[in-house]
Symmetry: C2
Subunit: 602 residues, 2 copies
């Protein structure tokens, strides 16, 4: 590892020039305009004061620019982490209290530390516990949860529920108290934003704009909606009519400080922080890869852990809350032509300037429109179609996905994602614990060996060949024994068992133990065990053990050689026994033709 692997800024910084600067600058201006209302809206979703969203969009961006390996990803507050922050902080404090804010900051610090440690020790593989169907189900369910949680802002009613069912019940109970001016701007804002996702770009193209500019402007629908909302509040004096606005935001940025260390609080937030760290990594790294591949750049996932961790830590020490790469804003950054992470640093300067000088302008932005931008953004993440696709492809993956969605909706994000992780592990273990295997025979006239149940093959009567289509490891070590002993107990005439291993990619100590046990048991029963087509690396490892010395039979490079050799041995011993070439009227080593059903595969 070179220093520049840990500080990617040293790589791209060297080639930095005027043109790159100009491109990064343009992208930064556009992302800044988009990020200001987003930061406010996500802070609202997290149950935090609006300025916390701005704080989380300054220092983290600078830090990511130094450590990040993605050239174009834009970090900051995102919807899912905002909801997870609200859930976790809500467990230890009441929204609106200083303790709640402290909890949010502590979440950023702990999850940041965890990510950095995972990066240093290259533990990124831990994120693999979250399979794609679980993550996809989790994002869908979270999207629905968030959309529901924003209804109170869209309708201007007080809602106190924490779970989804609570919240919906509470909304129905308060339906009579809808603030109609709020609903009158919230409803149209949602409608406009949904339309703008599909309808705005063709309109702009129709107006003669270039394709790239049109795409970019089409993504700025939320900014337009928020500005129009703010204008409407001022023009019609809506605040007096009960429309809630962002309100007073303290000018400037807070100083750097670590939250007071409280062992009890840290312990209470440990599990939540781990989930936040995991989700933030998975969400951003896949997006970073998508963007990087388009320009044939590359992402180093372990360095990304360090960069995202450092960014979250930066959020924690500067009064923000957990951050990660945001999808919409990274896409805008990419489309706007950002070339290096410097664009992110410039964005940070833009947000800092906004926090210093623009807060009076933000005063009148209506919460209902901010909520509308959140609702439309998260409903874009809801992917119900994926459920059907997964159902068609794999019932097990579907089960993990459906369980994640259900538990997340009913019992909340933390239990939801935990259920998904545990379930996918169990299902994986279940699947590999009963691996595919086939008793194979020789396709007449060829050197090929195929499943006796699928093909017309020839099988010597005293030999059974079992092809195992899986690595041998602890999950299936017992199955292997069961399976061989079953074959053994059904075949009193058996003299040889050949395990054919072309698909065995590795054998762990449990697998080895099973092979040793099988070898010993078969020896007791007077049956010889052979292996065939063992892969090079697997064989290298077996050579380090006593297994090959103890093996009653041979290891054959080729299954055809195995059968030929064993047939020859059988004939030889028959000749030795009878003293003649063949016993008249009987074949000492008979084979059996099996007319299997000819099918694909096997």
């Amino acid at each position: 590892m070179k220093l520049s692997d840990y500080l990617p800024i040293l790589q791209w910084g060297r080639q930095y020039n005027g043109q790159t600067f100009a491109n990064d600058m343009i992208a930064a201006v556009i992302v800044t305009v988009m990020l200001i209302p987003q930061s406010l809206a996500y802070a609202l979703l997290a149950g935090l004061p609006p300025q916390v969203g701005l704080y989380a969009s300054v220092l983290p961006l600078v830090v990511y620019a130094i450590f990040g390996t993605s050239r174009t990803m834009a970090v900051g507050p995102v919807a899912i982490l905002s909801l997870m922050t609200a859930v976790a902080a809500g467990k230890v404090a009441q929204q609106g209290t200083p303790e709640y804010l402290t909890a949010a900051i502590v979440l950023a610090v702990i999850s940041g530390l965890m990510l950095v440690v995972m990066g240093i020790f290259r533990l990124g593989f831990l994120a693999n516990f979250l399979s794609h169907p679980v993550m996809s189900g989790f994002v869908t369910a979270t999207g629905i949860l968030i959309a529901v949680s924003q209804l109170k802002y869209l309708l201007g009613i007080p809602v106190s529920g924490r779970g989804m069912i609570d919240t919906l019940t509470s909304i129905f109970r308060h339906l009579g108290e809808i603030n109609w001016p709020t609903a009158a701007i919230g409803g149209p804002a949602v409608a406009f934003l949904f339309w703008s996702r599909k309808g705005l770009k063709p309109l702009l193209l129709g107006l003669g704009l270039k394709d790239s500019l049109a795409s970019m402007l089409a993504r700025s629908g939320p900014v337009l909606a928020v500005v129009l909302g703010g204008v409407a509040v001022v023009a019609f004096g809506l605040e007096a009519k009960g429309v809630r606005v962002v309100g007073e935001i303290p000018k400037g940025l807070p100083g750097l400080s670590l939250p007071h260390f409280d062992a009890g609080l840290w312990q209470a937030l440990l599990g939540s922080s781990a989930l936040i760290a995991m989700i933030s990594f998975i969400e951003s790294v896949s997006m970073a890869q998508t963007l990087a591949a388009k320009r044939r750049q590359r992402i180093d996932p372990d360095q990304e852990l360090i960069a995202l961790g450092a960014a979250s830590l930066a959020a924690g020490v500067s009064g923000g809350y957990p951050v990660t790469g945001g999808f919409a804003r990274s896409a805008v950054n990419f489309d706007a032509g950002a070339e290096t992470p410097a664009a992110g640093a410039f964005t940070a300067v833009g947000i800092a300037l906004a926090a210093l000088f623009l807060t009076p302008l933000l005063y009148n932005l209506p919460q209902a429109v901010l909520a509308a931008t959140v609702v439309v953004a998260v409903l874009g993440l809801v992917d119900i179609k994926a459920l059907r696709g997964t159902w068609n492809y794999s019932k097990r993956d579907f089960a993990a996905m459906a369980a994640t969605i259900l538990v997340t909706l009913v019992a909340g994000v933390e239990l939801g994602v935990t259920t998904g992780v545990v379930l996918s592990l169990l299902l994986h273990l279940y699947q590999t614990s009963r691996p595919h295997f086939a008793i194979v025979g020789q396709v007449p006239g060829t050197h090929h060996f195929r499943n006796v149940n699928r093909h017309a093959v020839v099988v010597p009567e005293h030999i059974v060949t079992i092809r195992i289509d899986e690595s041998l490891y602890f999950a299936n070590a017992r199955f292997l024994q069961d399976m061989v002993y079953n074959v053994l107990s059904n075949r009193p005439d058996l003299k040889h068992i050949i395990l054919m291993c072309p698909a065995v990619n590795h054998i762990d100590a449990s697998g080895l133990e099973s092979l040793e046990a099988i070898n010993a048991r078969l020896k007791d029963a007077g049956v010889t065990l052979h292996l065939s087509e063992v892969k090079g690396p697997v064989m290298d490892r077996l050579k380090r053990t006593h297994f090959l010395d103890e093996l009653t039979g041979n290891v054959y490079l080729d299954q055809f050689d195995a059968i030929a050799d064993l047939d020859f041995e059988c004939a030889k011993s028959a000749i030795e026994k009878t003293g003649r070439l063949t016993e008249p009227g009987s074949d000492p080593c008979p084979s059996q033709e099996i007319a299997g059903v000819r099918e694909m595969g096997g």
Copy 2:
């Protein structure tokens, strides 16, 4: 499933005859003699009154005879479960109190219920979580723990520690209080028992006994030691000299009754019961398989769950504690010629008779000799050599094994086995998250494709072929993307990537998602993705998705065809472009010869 699959007694019962009865009866008598002192010793180890060991050796044996699929396994109290019972019951009550006994009974009931449920729902695969190295390490560490725990009986000193370090410290502190008469029979008992494991059989053979009889008698060393101990106590009036004896045992058997249901107690013992259930299943099923294979019989692991669960439940309702198949006693049963589980039922009758009529004879058995039988039995399970073997074979398996031993010794059995399970899962995930893969090229003049780093091969310049030696599933889905994008970012001239899949046994939804993402990313980058040598079942599944429609390239049955086809396409397009067969002085589709290091494997 037929009824006789659930009630194996219906299978073997039909062929039951006089000869079988005679054989079973002889084995039952021998096992009974052996089991009486064992039951008392293990009850002592579990911290329970001695008669509880007898109670656990009656009804469970009858129940196992009805439901069990092993013809020769003998169930009853065993060392490891006794220690685990002591640990679990010790967490909720003080040894010697009625609450402690209740806790032991509840453990039998809950773990029995769990096993039955696992059996009915065929969840035996859950036991696979315990890999062989973890189980082996656990047995070794438990053996040491048990041996240490018995020192107090061997030396006749009061010891109060619960952990191993506690216990050892306490022993050293009380060394001055050794009861010498106790040590004088405990020490020689241990020495005799160790000697008898190796030395008794040759001696008996020397006396002219038949091999099978000699082996069997050699295993009855513990019985001999206990009887001699009892004689010594009576002859020398040792009880008066402070040698602790088994003492008064209430005559008869307790009635059947369920323990009073206490939700709090059940909840407190849930985790411990799950561990006991798991360990009892793993311990006995592998032994049952070993015995069955010798006679070409078979074991049904799911039915074994039901049988062991029913046996434990039976222990619970008849005043016993958790039971499972015992190694030494099953071996004796087997060697003594037991043919059916009826031998177990006859043993139960023997133990019941002992509990009814022999308790006065048991009064004088010295605890020190019982402890000696336990120590020698469990030290026989300690397998330190396995550590070295595992170290040689696999560092990862060694890590899991060593951690299990250390944590078990230092922090106790429950944390030890949990650590082992979690660690092996993590290590497995880590290993498969970075699967072996190779960039391959064609061995000149053959249809074989080999690792470019190991062999001299030819590689077309615009094509990269990557052979993946692992199934594609959630643990390595991200790695696959990283790896392909890395190749992509290093090769600006690249036009085709072929994923060669002969070792891909399955692709789950996460793997499919990765392939889809790779296909889309490569398309953006102007590179075509192909697959080759996809297995039949994997292909069947892919056909159910849109992936094959979206795939930019082709699926080739054979890697050789893939290269030939892509080379042909390249040449064709070059001709179309230039209008001539070959551009003078340049090959439009050049290949590169790579002189790899020729090695085994790859």
